[in-house]
């Protein structure tokens, strides 16, 4: 039983890790704490619904559609909303992303109705038995794809020249400008990546559960994940996501289903009081 819970936690945690990674990329690049990341997940789920159920695209094309559309969404949001607020106080930026999430939610509910939509894809369903542990193929696929995306991003970030320029921009905006880097382009790229990673998470969560705006709550678990893992740390985001996934499943199983949220937020409070820079982060207490 324990292994069962652990594995589901790990699978879900991989998806959380992906969403948290997207969040961290945005944060590292533009210093924006994107409260709308949860809605990006929802957008991904609904993009999947649009591509598969409405436009009836073949699955491979649907994936391309989702990736491109979510990337464009990220870029658009940076250009119209984030860039104008450069240098503004933190509450303004936080409130902007919160207002954005509300606007997106309202738009989606107007376009698709407040009820959720079921999402069916050619992804394998069914169950695999490993000893006494049942692992659904969907969970497994979600985990594998999430890890592939995270690894892919890691390789891109570390080894390509564009990745280097992104790291440079995140390190010091002004130094990057002085060195000839088009920092605006890097920021837009960061938002495109952040949005796309969340959308992939939404694709899986939409199928694991249902494509609805309620997924936002799950997407928002990326926030405690990045804090626990360490705010500007990429490995931290991934580990944080995994931990949140595992803890959530454990709490839901061994305490009560409704308690999982609260356990995570209490943990968040504890970390903030005891070790605010998280597991992998660096010691800079808060941003005044």
């Amino acid at each position: 039983m324990f292994e069962q819970v652990f594995f589901s936690g790990l699978a879900l945690g991989s998806i959380y890790g992906l969403v948290a990674l997207g969040f961290t990329v945005i944060f590292k690049a533009t210093d924006v704490f994107n409260f709308a990341q949860g809605m990006f997940v929802v957008c991904g789920a609904y993009l999947a619904v649009t591509a598969i159920s409405i436009l009836q695209l073949p699955f491979a094309l649907a994936i391309v559609f989702i990736v491109v559309a979510s990337a464009l969404l990220g870029v658009l949001i940076h250009m119209t909303l984030i860039q104008p607020l450069l240098g503004r106080p933190m509450l303004s930026v936080i409130m902007l992303t919160i207002a954005l999430s509300i606007a997106l939610r309202a738009l989606i509910e107007i376009m698709f109705g407040p009820q959720g939509r079921s999402l069916t894809t050619p992804l394998p369903t069914g169950v695999l038995m490993l000893g006494s542990v049942r692992i659904s193929y969907l969970h497994l696929t979600a985990a594998l794809v999430s890890w592939a995306c995270m690894a892919g991003f890691g390789l891109f970030f570390r080894f390509t020249s564009v990745g280097l320029l992104m790291r440079a921009s995140a390190d010091s905006h002004e130094a990057a400008v002085v060195s000839g880097v088009n920092v605006n382009t890097m920021n837009r790229l960061a938002w495109a990546i952040g949005s796309t990673l969340a959308a992939v998470g939404g694709l899986f969560l939409g199928q694991l559960q249902i494509a609805s705006t309620e997924l936002e709550g799950i997407g928002l678990l990326a926030l405690p994940a990045v804090v626990i893992g360490g705010m500007q740390s990429i490995p931290g985001a991934i580990v944080g996501g995994l931990l949140v996934g595992i803890i959530e499943q454990m709490a839901a199983t061994y305490i009560s289903p409704k308690s999982s949220d609260i356990v995570i937020y209490v943990l968040l409070l504890l970390i903030l009081m005891v070790r605010p820079w998280g597991l992998f982060g660096q010691r800079e207490l808060g941003r005044v």
């Binding site: 704490f33 909303l81 104008p84 607020l85 503004r88 933190m90 509450l91 303004s92 936080i94 409130m95 902007l96 919160i98 207002a99 954005l100 509300i102 606007a103 939610r105 309202a106 738009l107 509910e109 107007i110 407040p114 926030l223 405690p224 804090v227 705010m231 409704k258 308690s259 949220d261 609260i262 937020y265 209490v266 968040l268 409070l269 903030l272 009081m273 605010p276 207490l285 808060g286 941003r287 005044v288």
Partner: protein
């Protein structure tokens, strides 16, 4: 020239006239809304912006929320997105002391204020350890913790339908009609407003604003920033707690769903649109939040059948449309008018003064 005497004499007279107009308007308002007529001349629903005394009363309660949040965030510089938690605290305290223990209403309110202050001070404790973004996250966590406690409380002592609240009474008078609620709430809001204004102009209030603007500088002048922060949190939460209790009494039944994160966000939206750090701005923000759904309801046709696209939208997705417009308003204000309506009002006033001086 007479200009100097002119400009010093009229402000006093002008202020008194202003005050008189407002007082008479506010006193007449309940009559206007209940009889739906202005001095005997009947007014249609649309002309009254679809407002009833019920909405006005809710607006007054939310003004308390906006004022307390603006005091905390705009004046003391402490960003909190967990404000709904203090409303929940008040509602819960009211349930304990009134519904369960049967205390008299005024005592219940006092107890709610104390409970709110306590929870607020606790919620402010992380500010001693972390700052900025981390602190905002701690307020989010506090929100989830408190609302969870409320949920558990509701399920343990009551049931899933919600917690009932008796009609409040002061002495022999029951507050059971909208007019009576109005008569109770309006002076309360004015009192809280004047109290907060006085607090901001006191020595501690000035220190608080110094702390908001430059913490390091404030510390170097000997201001104990940490104690001030906790005090601000305590006061703000006490007011919000009372507002939460009144909210519960007003609706006479509350479930934990009422205090979700959306509830907290509404207040932040109010103070952004109204103007952060501006007490009058809080009132304006709350008023706009009230008016918007009513206006939209007024604009929507009765049925969606022969209406156009907009009409269909207004009828079938009214709630979402309100959310959409409200959030877009916040975004527009954030980008183009960061000081809110209060800021716009100030620059308008400056321009008027400059124009008047040039005459």
């Amino acid at each position: 020239m007479n200009t100097t005497t002119y400009s010093t004499a009229t402000p006093k007279l002008g202020a008194w006239v202003w005050l008189l107009c407002w007082t008479s308007a506010l006193v007449y308002l309940p009559t206007l809304l209940t009889e739906r007529a202005l001095f005997g001349m009947a007014l249609s629903n649309t002309q009254l912006l679809n407002l009833g005394l019920t909405q006005i009363n809710l607006m007054l309660i939310s003004m308390l929320g906006a004022l307390s949040l603006n005091y905390l965030t705009g004046c003391a510089g402490l960003i909190s997105i967990g404000h709904a938690a203090f409303f929940a605290t008040g509602a819960m305290a009211a349930a304990v002391f009134d519904t369960q223990l049967g205390w008299p209403f005024p005592c219940v309110l006092l107890a709610c204020a104390v409970a709110g202050a306590l929870v607020g001070t606790l919620a402010g404790l992380p500010s001693l350890r972390v700052r900025g973004l981390y602190f905002v996250l701690s307020t989010l966590a506090v929100h989830y913790v408190v609302t969870y406690v409320f949920l558990e409380y509701q399920f343990k002592f009551f049931d899933v339908v919600g917690i009932p609240y008796a009609t409040p009474r002061i002495g022999d008078i029951e507050i059971n009609t909208p007019v009576r609620w109005y008569a109770f709430l309006l002076p309360l809001v004015i009192l809280v407003y004047l109290g907060l204004k006085a607090s901001l102009q006191s020595r501690e209030g000035l220190a608080m604003r110094a702390m908001r603007d430059h913490e390091l500088a404030a510390t170097s002048v000997g201001v104990d920033v940490r104690i001030l922060r906790l005090k601000a949190f305590g006061l703000s939460s006490a007011i919000a707690s009372v507002a939460g209790a009144l909210f519960a009494y007003y609706l006479s039944n509350i479930t934990s769903e009422a205090f979700n994160i959306n509830f907290a966000i509404q207040f932040i939206a109010m103070i952004i649109i109204g103007g952060m750090g501006s007490l009058p701005g809080s009132l304006v923000g709350a008023a706009i939040w009230l008016l918007l759904p009513s206006i939209i309801a007024g604009l929507s046709p009765q049925s969606s059948e022969d209406a156009g696209f907009m009409g269909k939208l207004l009828v079938e997705h009214r709630a979402q449309l309100v959310q959409l417009i409200f959030s877009v308003m916040v975004i527009v204000f954030l980008i183009f008018a960061p000081s809110g309506v209060a800021g716009l009002g100030r620059s308008l006033k400056n321009r008027l003064d400059a124009w008047r001086q040039g005459l």
